[in-house]
Amino acid sequence: MSGKYSAFTFCDRIIEFVPATSARAVFLVPAHLGEFAACLVAEAVGQLAAWVSMAHIGFRGRPVAALAGETRYFGAVGAGQTLGLDIAIEHCDEESVAYSGRATVEGHEILRLTDCVAPMLPQRDYDEPEDLAQQFELLRGPGALPGRFAGCGRPALTPVEVEGDKRRVTRLDVPTDADFFSDHFPRRPVFPATLLLDSAIRVACELVASPSRSCEGHWRLTRMTHLKMRDFVLPGQSLALMAELLATSDETARVGLTARVGERTVATARVEFEAPGESR
């Protein structure tokens, strides 16, 4: 199992665990990383919920990202800092898992996920249940080696269409080969939804920072709602990421996100930004 659960696994040690109910864990963001994106923080929270739900059903199934009612962004984690992860399971069985969770840095909440739901899919299609069970015991015991995440880069985005400051379409070419596919997932590589969202949010950021809006500085992502992943995105597929301005004011902007592979909508979400100078 050398190297497995390193390339895209964001939990070093589970420090509290109540079966099928809750868990707390830690993850050290390696000091050599330039940044650790908010999408990866959300991934870390989701992965902790996945460990708890998989353990509950003997690793026969695994949740795959599907729905997130609300994600709130309060701050960032820096390289060399330790993320605190905390999840509460609302419902968990062979069919689905529902949970909420949050991430903290030095006791300060930086991200909160609520009303997340995912179907449980047959584990053997994605990974070896025995390997997962063994890794789970390691995480609950001495923990995995901290600092093993080497980063995962960001795919290039190619602008396709710009409709003034109302709409942008950008192409994302999913790599055919990337380290993160070895964890996500060992038996069936799937482009992580959180990386898709990271790119889609970048497109939304460019849209709200359009020069036609008067203020200067960075619009801050504050909230994502109505996230729904409808289909898997596979290595080598080409995605159209659409960001459409839904509402805007001097203080906030709301953007609808849609990701398509050909004519098929694979993901939808809404994101909200706060204008430069506005505080939480």
Binding site: L67, E95, V117, K228
Partner: protein, 138 residues
């Protein structure tokens, strides 16, 4: 009739609003007898979303797979479907259970995986009413 029109009308506005939110459509597009899949483009992930949203909106528990289980009623699995296709007994049972669906839409042969294509907003009103009833009886 399992539920009266008044029973359905009592929960329908909240069910319609929940459905519209889950499907990202306007509440005016949601009609009591619309097919969720054919008219409102719902997919399987939307049903999972909808069930959780209804649980929160109505503060009830809706066990997963409950609609299909209830649809089967007292029929055994073998009596209900064979090689994935519903039996004649199952079709009769389904027409009674999904009384909100026009009988001509419940065509033979019908695969068990196609049952969700029949669901309408009224189907989910009944799901909520059954869950409320179960909660009272518990």
């Amino acid at each position: 009739m399992e539920f009266s029109k008044e029973d359905i009308a009592a929960v329908y506005p909240k069910v319609a609003a929940t459905l519209a939110d889950a499907l990202g459509c306007d509440v005016d597009q949601v009609k009591l007898d619309a097919s969720l899949i054919e008219d409102l483009q719902a997919e399987s992930i939307d049903f999972l979303d909808l069930v959780f949203r209804l649980e929160r909106a109505f503060k009830v528990k809706i066990p997963r797979g409950k609609i299909i289980e209830d649809a089967r009623g007292e029929l055994s699995e073998v009596e209900f479907e064979q090689r994935g296709v519903l039996t004649e007994a199952a079709l009769i049972r389904l027409k009674s259970f999904l009384s909100e669906v026009p009988p001509e839409r419940i065509k033979s042969p019908l695969k068990a995986t196609e049952i969700p294509r029949l669901f309408t907003p009224e189907t989910f009103c009944k799901v909520v009413l059954r869950a409320q009833r179960a909660q009272v009886m518990a």
